[in-house]
C-alpha cells in the first residue's frame, strides 16, 4: 500500500476523496441535500455535496440547518443570501422549518411562493409589523404565520388581502394624495433631467447598467444590485445601500425609512422567473409596493415593465422568454392605481417590431449595451408625472 501511494499519490487520493464525497452525497441525499435540485444533464455522484457547499450547506452542517435552508429557499424562492445569513442562528431557522411544515399547501407550486414568502421572512415580518406599528403575532401564531406576514404588510387596517388588486386598493383608499388628474389614464409629461433630482431607482443588473451608463448617477439615487429579486428587495442584507456612517451598508427597508424621495422607479422580475408563478410574483410585488407606499407616502411610484429579452434568447430559452415575461408583466399592470402608482412599459421603446429587445442594442440578449441606456432614460423623462 505504501509503495502504491508512493507511485501514484494523487490518483489514490482522488480515488479516496471521490468515494468519501460520494458517500457524503449519497447519505445526505435523503436528508441535508434532499431539496438540492437534480442536475439537468449528467452529474457525478458527488455533485450534491458541491452544490450544497455552493448554497452554504457544508458536509458538517447539521441536518436540520441544511434542510431548513433548502426548504426556505425552495419554498420562498428566496435568494440564498437571505437564507445564508439567516442560518447564523439555526434555532430561528428550525422554527421556520416547523412553520413551513405546518402551513397547508406548502407543496403546491402556487402556494409555495406566497406561503414561503411569509415563512422565510417570518422573523423579519415581525420586524415589519413593529416598524409600521400594527404588530401582528408574526411567528408567534404558527398556523397563521405566512398569510399574516403578507396581510400585515399590505393592509394598513390589518385586513388580509388575497386578491391581486387588493393591495393597491387598500393603499389608494387609505391615502388620498391629490393629483393633477384623478381620471383613469395618467397624464404623462416630458420633463428635464432635474426631474431625477429626488428620484430613486430600485432594480437588478439592468438598473445597475442605468446607474453606470444613464448619466444620471449624480442626480438620482440607485438601490440596485445584480440578481436582486422582489422577494428579498426590502431586507436583503447584501450591501445595496451604502451609508457614510459606521453601519457601512443598510437594507432598502432601512434606507427608505431614513430618506424621503419624490419618485421611486422599480424594475424587477427577470431573476424571479425561475421561482413561483405570475400570481405569487404579483402578490409579492404588491406587498413590496405597499410597504414602499407606507414608508414613502409622498412619492410617485413607477412600476416599470420587466424588459423583454432579444429574439434569439426568446426563441431558445424555456424560462427567460418574452411570453413568460409578459405573463408576469400582467399583474404588475394591475398594481397601478394611476394616482400614486404608475405602470410604465419600457418595452414600447426598447423593442423592435417583433416585440423583442432590439438585438442591435444588446450583446447578451438581456442587457442593453451602454450606449442605449439613453433611450430608456429618455422614455422615463417623456413619461413623467408632475404633481402640482
Amino acid at each position: 500500500m505504501k509503495r502504491l501511494f508512493q507511485r501514484c499519490p494523487v490518483f489514490l487520493l482522488i480515488l479516496i476523496t471521490f468515494v468519501l464525497f460520494g458517500g457524503i452525497s449519497v447519505r445526505g441525499e435523503q436528508s441535508v441535500y434532499r431539496n438540492i435540485p437534480a442536475a439537468t444533464g449528467y452529474a457525478p455522484v458527488c455533485a450534491p455535496m458541491f452544490k450544497g457547499i455552493h448554497e452554504g450547506i457544508y458536509p458538517w452542517s447539521s441536518v436540520d440547518c441544511g434542510l431548513a435552508k433548502r426548504e426556505n429557499e425552495s419554498g420562498a424562492g428566496l435568494l440564498k443570501a437571505a437564507a445564508v445569513s439567516a442560518c447564523d442562528d439555526c434555532d430561528s431557522l428550525r422554527a421556520d422549518m416547523v412553520l413551513d411544515h405546518e402551513s397547508p399547501g406548502a407543496d403546491s407550486v402556487s402556494g409555495n411562493g406566497v406561503d414561503g414568502f411569509g415563512s422565510v421572512s417570518g422573523n423579519r415580518v415581525d420586524g415589519f409589523g413593529s416598524v409600521s406599528g400594527n404588530g401582528v403575532g408574526g411567528s408567534g401564531s404558527v398556523s397563521e404565520n405566512s398569510a399574516d406576514g403578507l396581510g400585515n404588510v399590505s393592509g394598513n387596517d390589518g385586513k388580509e388581502s388575497d386578491s391581486l388588486s387588493g393591495p393597491s386598493e387598500n393603499v389608494s383608499g387609505g391615502q388620498n394624495n391629490v393629483l393633477d388628474s384623478v381620471t383613469e389614464a395618467p397624464v404623462f409629461r416630458s420633463v428635464g433631467e432635474d426631474y431625477f433630482d429626488d428620484a430613486l431607482f430600485i432594480g437588478d443588473s439592468r438598473t445597475v447598467g442605468l446607474f453606470e451608463y444613464g448619466r444620471i448617477e449624480d442626480r438620482a439615487q440607485f438601490y440596485a444590485q445584480t440578481s436582486l429579486m422582489i422577494y428579498e428587495v426590502m431586507e436583503n442584507p447584501k450591501a445595496i445601500v451604502e451609508t457614510d456612517d459606521e453601519r457601512g451598508s443598510i437594507t432598502v427597508e432601512e434606507a427608505l425609512s431614513e430618506h424621503q424621495f419624490g419618485k421611486i422607479y422599480i424594475m424587477l422580475g427577470l431573476n424571479e422567473m425561475g421561482f413561483g408563478t405570475p400570481e405569487s410574483f404579483g402578490k409579492a410585488y404588491g406587498a413590496v409596493i405597499n410597504r414602499i407606499r407606507q414608508l414613502q407616502p409622498d412619492a410617485v411610484i413607477y412600476i416599470q415593465s420587466i424588459m423583454h429579452v432579444a429574439d434569439e434568447k426568446n426563441r431558445t430559452d424555456p424560462v427567460y422568454n418574452n411570453t413568460n415575461i409578459d405573463l408576469r408583466n400582467q399583474p404588475l399592470k394591475q398594481l397601478a392605481d394611476n394616482q400614486n402608482i404608475f405602470y410604465l412599459d419600457v418595452n414600447e421603446v426598447l423593442c423592435d417590431e417583433t416585440g423583442c429587445l432590439n438585438s442591435e442594442w444588446t450583446f447578451d440578449q438581456v442587457h442593453l449595451k451602454a450606449a442605449y441606456y439613453q433611450i430608456w432614460k429618455e422614455f422615463l423623462l417623456n413619461h413623467a408625472i408632475v404633481r402640482q
Binding site: L4, R7, C8, P9, V10, F11, L13, I14, T17, F21, G22, V26, A38, G41, Y42, A43, P44, V45, C46, A47, F50, K51, I53, H54, E212, Y213, R215, T362, F363, D364, H367, K369, A370, A371, Y373, Q374
Partner: protein
C-alpha cells in the same frame, strides 16, 4: 449508483461533452471507463479497444458524420498505399496531389458551407481541421519517404482518430504514434498523466473561464462605450483567456494520452515569456506551427531561395494560418499582421530585440494583445471601434463612456490578472521539477482538482473556444 437518467444523459445524442475534457461526463464517466477498459485489455488488443472507443465517442458527439471518418480514412489509406507501391515519380506526385485535393476540398467545403447535408449554422464538424491535417501529414510523409505506408487500416485509424487528440489536437505525426501502439500503461504513467490533466483542467476552469468573464462583460457594455484603460484590460483578459483555454486543453489532451501510456507532443511552451514574435510562434500551438513549417514553408523553398522568396513563402504560410483559424476577414487580417511583424523581425527587428531585454518585453506586452484583438473580433466595424478605444488618437468614443469603469473591473479581476501572468511564466514549472516529490504538490493538486469540480458542478461549462474550427 448508475441510474436511468445518467444513462440517458450520457447517451443523449449528440452530446459533444463526451469529447470535452473539462466536462463532468468526461472526467467521471468516459475517462475512467476508457482507462479501465484499456487497462484490462491484454496488450495485443490495446490499439483495437482504443480505436473502438474513439469511434464510439465520436459517434456520440457527432452522430451524423461518422461515415466521413471512414471516407477520409479510406481515401488516404489507399492513396498512401499507391504512393508507396508506385515507382514513377509523376504518378506518385499525382496521388499526393489527389489526396491533398480531397482532404482540403473537404475542409474548405465545410468552411464555406458548400455541402447541402451539413447545415449546422456555420459550425465545423467536430475535429475536422485536426484530423484532416493529420491525414495530410501522413500522406506527405509517405511521399517523402519519412514513413512507410501503413498496411493496417486499423492502425492508421488509431493515428487519425484516437480520442485524446480527436477534437482539438495536438496535431500528431504518424511517425510519433506508429511506434507507440504497443500497450504501455503503468501506474507511474497514470500519475504523471493525471497531474498534467489536473494542471490543464485548472488552467481552463480556474483561470480561462474566470478571466473570460471580463471579456464577456466588455462585449455586454459594447466596445463603443469602454474607456481606454478598460479596452486594454479587455485585450489582456482575452490574451490570457485564449492562452489558458487552449494550453489548458492541450495539457489535458497530453495528460489523457499519458494516462493511456502514449507520449503526445507538447503544444505550448510558455509563449508569453517570448521576447519576439518569431520565438512566440515557436512556442504557441507548436504542433500547428511545425505542420505549416514542414508541409507549406519548406516545400515552398523555405528561406533557401533568397530574401524576397522567403517573404513570399512566409506570406503563404500566414494567410493559410489565418484561413485555418476561421471564416471571417479578420482572420486574414490577423494573418497579414503577423506576417508583417515576422517579416520585420526577420529583416531587421530581431537583432535589435535581442539586445534590448526590457524593450523587447514591452514590445511583446503591447503587440501580442493587439494581434489577439484582431483575432478575437470577427466584425470588422466592431474591430475598428475597438481600435479607437485602444488608441484614442484614432477617434473619439461614439457610445456612453463611464470613465471609472476600469476601476470597477480592476477591483474585480486584479487577482486573476496576477495569477494569469504568474502561471504564464516558466518559473512555476522549474520549481515543480525540482520539488515534485514534495507532499505539498500532491495535496495542492488534489485540492485544485476538487475546486475545479466545484466550479464545474456549479456552472454550466462553456464549450471550448477552438471546437468550431
Amino acid at each position: 449508483m448508475i441510474d436511468r437518467n445518467d444513462v440517458i444523459a450520457v447517451f443523449s445524442l449528440p452530446n459533444q461533452n463526451v469529447l470535452v475534457f473539462h466536462s463532468l461526463e468526461f472526467i467521471f464517466r468516459i475517462l475512467p471507463i476508457c482507462l479501465l477498459l484499456c487497462a484490462l485489455m491484454p496488450g495485443t488488443g490495446f490499439s483495437g479497444i482504443l480505436l473502438l472507443g474513439s469511434l464510439l465517442l465520436y459517434w456520440m458527439a457527432e452522430p451524423s458524420l461518422i461515415w466521413l471518418l471512414l471516407a477520409v480514412l479510406f481515401v488516404n489509406y489507399m492513396l498512401a498505399w499507391w504512393i508507396g507501391c508506385c515507382e514513377r515519380k509523376g504518378l506518385r506526385r499525382f496521388f499526393l496531389a489527389l489526396s491533398v485535393l480531397c482532404d482540403f476540398g473537404l475542409l474548405f467545403g465545410f468552411k464555406c458551407a458548400a455541402f447541402p447535408f451539413w447545415k449546422e449554422n456555420g459550425a465545423m464538424p467536430l475535429g475536422i481541421s485536426f484530423y484532416i491535417f493529420r491525414a495530410v501529414s501522413y500522406v506527405a510523409d509517405v511521399y517523402t519517404g519519412q514513413s512507410s505506408p501503413e498496411l493496417s487500416p486499423f492502425k492508421l485509424a488509431v493515428y487519425l482518430y484516437m480520442f485524446p487528440v480527436m477534437a482539438s489536437g495536438p496535431i500528431t505525426r504518424y511517425g510519433q504514434i506508429s511506434v507507440q501502439l504497443e500497450k504501455n500503461m503503468s501506474l507511474s504513467n497514470l500519475e504523471k498523466g493525471l497531474r498534467l490533466f489536473i494542471t490543464g483542467l485548472a488552467s481552463k476552469v480556474l483561470i480561462a473561464d474566470r478571466i473570460g468573464i471580463l471579456w464577456h462583460e466588455i462585449q455586454v457594455i459594447g466596445f463603443e462605450s469602454i474607456s481606454t484603460p478598460l479596452a486594454w484590460m479587455g485585450a489582456f483578459a482575452y490574451t490570457l483567456m485564449l492562452y489558458f483555454d487552449f494550453s489548458g486543453y492541450s495539457l489535458m489532451a497530453v495528460g489523457v494520452g499519458r494516462m493511456l501510456g502514449l507520449t503526445l507532443p507538447e503544444n505550448f511552451h510558455y509563449p508569453y515569456a517570448a521576447r519576439s514574435f518569431t520565438q512566440f510562434w515557436r512556442r504557441w500551438h507548436i504542433t500547428l506551427g511545425a505542420w505549416f513549417r514542414d508541409y507549406v514553408y519548406i516545400p515552398l523553398g523555405g528561406s533557401r531561395k533568397g530574401r524576397a522568396r522567403t517573404c513570399l513563402n512566409l506570406l503563404a504560410v500566414w494567410l493559410f494560418t489565418g484561413i485555418w483559424h476561421g471564416n471571417g476577414w479578420n482572420y486574414l487580417l490577423w494573418g497579414l499582421l503577423l506576417w508583417l511583424l515576422l517579416t520585420a523581425e526577420k529583416l531587421f527587428l530581431s537583432r535589435w530585440l535581442e539586445k534590448h531585454r526590457i524593450l523587447s518585453r514591452l514590445y511583446m506586452l503591447i503587440l501580442v494583445p493587439v494581434t489577439w484583438i484582431v483575432f478575437a473580433i470577427t466584425d470588422l466595424k466592431e474591430l475598428a471601434v475597438y481600435f479607437t478605444r485602444l488608441f484614442p488618437i484614432f477617434g473619439v468614443a461614439q457610445g456612453t463612456v463611464n470613465g471609472g469603469d476600469y476601476i470597477k473591473y480592476g477591483k474585480m479581476f486584479w487577482l486573476l490578472f496576477l495569477f494569469g501572468w504568474l502561471f504564464s511564466q516558466p518559473w512555476m514549472e522549474r520549481w515543480y521539477q525540482r520539488t515534485k516529490q514534495n507532499l505539498l504538490w500532491t495535496v495542492s493538486l488534489l485540492v485544485v482538482f476538487w475546486v475545479c469540480i466545484y466550479y464545474l458542478v456549479n456552472t454550466a461549462s462553456n464549450p471550448f473556444l477552438y471546437f468550431s474550427f
